[in-house]
Amino acid sequence: MKDNSSQASNPLTRLWRNQESRGVIIQIITITLLFAIIALIGRNVVINLAALDKEFSFTFLTWPAAYDIGFSPFLEYTSQSTHLKAAAVGLLNTLLVAITGCIFASILGFTLGILRLSKNWLVNRIAYTFVEFMRNVPVLIHILAIYSLIITLMPPVKKALDLGGGQFFISNRGFYMPSPVFEPGAWMVGVAMIVAILSVFLFRRWAKKVQDNTGKIYPVFWISIGIIFGLTGIVFIAAGMPLSWDVPALKGFNFKGGMAIKPEFLALWLALSYYTACFIAEIVRAGILAVSHGQTEASKALGLRNNRVLQLVVIPQALRIIIPPLSSQYLNLTKNSSLAIAIGYMDITATLGGISLMQTGKEMETMILVMGVYLLISLCISGYMNWFNRRIKLTER
């Protein structure tokens, strides 16, 4: 008796027909191919670099960068500084626009999402039109358009628009506002603020415990606000108000004093924020719609007031749906901030991946560093959002 299908004469065919050994064979082939490709690329890189008399090393990071960076709010940077420092300035600028952008995009996105759900027909339609138009146009066009609007339509510095009581100005060179000056004793206010935030944190945990055990609900939000502003305010007055404002004033050809926000940052931040906000608005809307109406009705039947329904029933459930896509929007915003290079905002792509690359000719090294930085940022954001997501996840029995 011979079973033709399982008794192939060739041992190789038999190996291939066995599911386990076939898996092993496929994996061995994959590994071999992978290493062959890596070896081939490595060999090509070595030969090509040798032909161009280049060396693969990161020592260029200690060379003087010899270019200026117009916007470096955190580090002292001159054109004598090293490429490493230029990269650090770029990284901080990327993080600055990413973090402030995420905050503003969230606020705007949640507002737009709620407006999209409004029963008011006019508001609903306006929000819909805004969201649909903005999110269907590439973000690069938004950035360039906003930038050119600021540059061409705003008045020159000498005729800067006064936006309020001689404190805030806008011109085609940026937005000027008073900057805080900390006088001796300001550290006490800082400490008070940290203590206030810590005690709010503890108070909320305690209030939640009380609510879980007894059902008694404290007005947590108002008490928190009271603690933060009250404690900080008392210490502020007690320490003799150790804070004054440095008001920008027009002197000669430019503003002196105060804080200046460059048009590059302003354009990038605004465009990234409202573009991402449109996506967040749709996510928020979908999340809130996904909470079934029965939940709202049930909680009203239990006698909860409208804001409690939102706070205790609808928002916690909607957040579970909202968080995962929201985190990918934050990632998108961070990655889109690399478009800064188009308007000359000096982020990590423009410093290390742009000018440093051109000056040193170290394409491989700079690109590896830039990509590594973005990968690291992405990993951090997704790690944090995963942790947050786990925390609010439905705990099932």
């Binding site: 030969i47 590439p138 358009a145 690359l357 973005y374």
Partner: protein, 377 residues
Amino acid sequence: MTDHQPSPQYLPGTHPDLPPPVRTTGPIAWMRINLFSSPLNIVLTLASVWILWSLLPPAIEWIFIDAIWSAGDRKECWAQMDAPRDGACWAFIRGSFELFVYGWYPEPERWRVNLSFLLLVIAIFGVLKDNLPGKKYWLWFAVFFPFIAAWLLVGGFGLVPVGTQKIGGILLTIIVGVTGITFSLPLGILLALGRRSHLPVLRAVCVVFIEFIRGVPLITLLFVASTMLTYFLPPGSSFDLLMRVLIMVTIFAAAYIAEVVRGGLQGLSSGQYEAADALGLTYWKAHRLIILPQALKISIPGIVNTFIGLYKDSVLVLIIGMMDILGLGRARLNDPLWLGLAPELYLFIALFFFLCCFSMARYSLGLEKKLRTGHKQ
């Protein structure tokens, strides 16, 4: 008026229907319900009206009423207005329209571009239209379309060769978009299958690849394509920048498609896999006949969203110096004749992208609704 009192002259049940009360139907009731239902809504409505009132009339005036449609340069444009910049100077867009569509594609060969656009429309029509006789052949045509278009545009084999550096404008935007869309879908499906494979090595390779591509911005990949890729190739060899960019864009979109398709695959119950195994189907047959048709159906919205994103991302080629519609437009802005007409340019380009992407989004929405009727919940 005592209409609401039934008149005695009618027998019970014969009274003609009265018009409904004004408070429950008609425009006034509609406004009461939709615009003025609560104090907050009244405030919101008034605020919206105020915003529209202060934005719309000036915008319409600028775009249509005071706009100039034909002029030789911006000075001529402004001479026709009450004051410079009073209205839009659409003469700028009209004058540059051919450049914006064809780039520097040689004039006598432009019929090839037009023919490719026509074939593209036919291919899209064949894919999207239902109940088309001979649907299979339409689909095959769509599969071969990118190759036919590539031959038409680049030339060779009997046509005059045209260098890829001559390709620009909307043509380039559409080439990048269509190539990315066509090739990223199969590649993305393969990556998704690899990521769900039982073989650890295959899975690891796919996971690292997908996560790496998704973790970096497209710009850095385009920089790699423009500056670094030549190092990876055998010495002395080089290939076209457009080709390198197309490969990078395809890979980039494939990683995102892979994640969308993986979501669809995870959405299937394991019973489907077991049933396919029980029928004795091989891996590929099971996927082709049972798994993928269902998984892809679930992932259509995500796939179309990725395509829209890819289409919008095609403008980034401007940053590595390729002249798509945005790049050409910006170059044109530096032309002394048309200096500083940025609002007109950006509005035009924004409108172009809005029309493309919004219609894709609406189509996907319609498709989603159509497919959902199959299994009502």
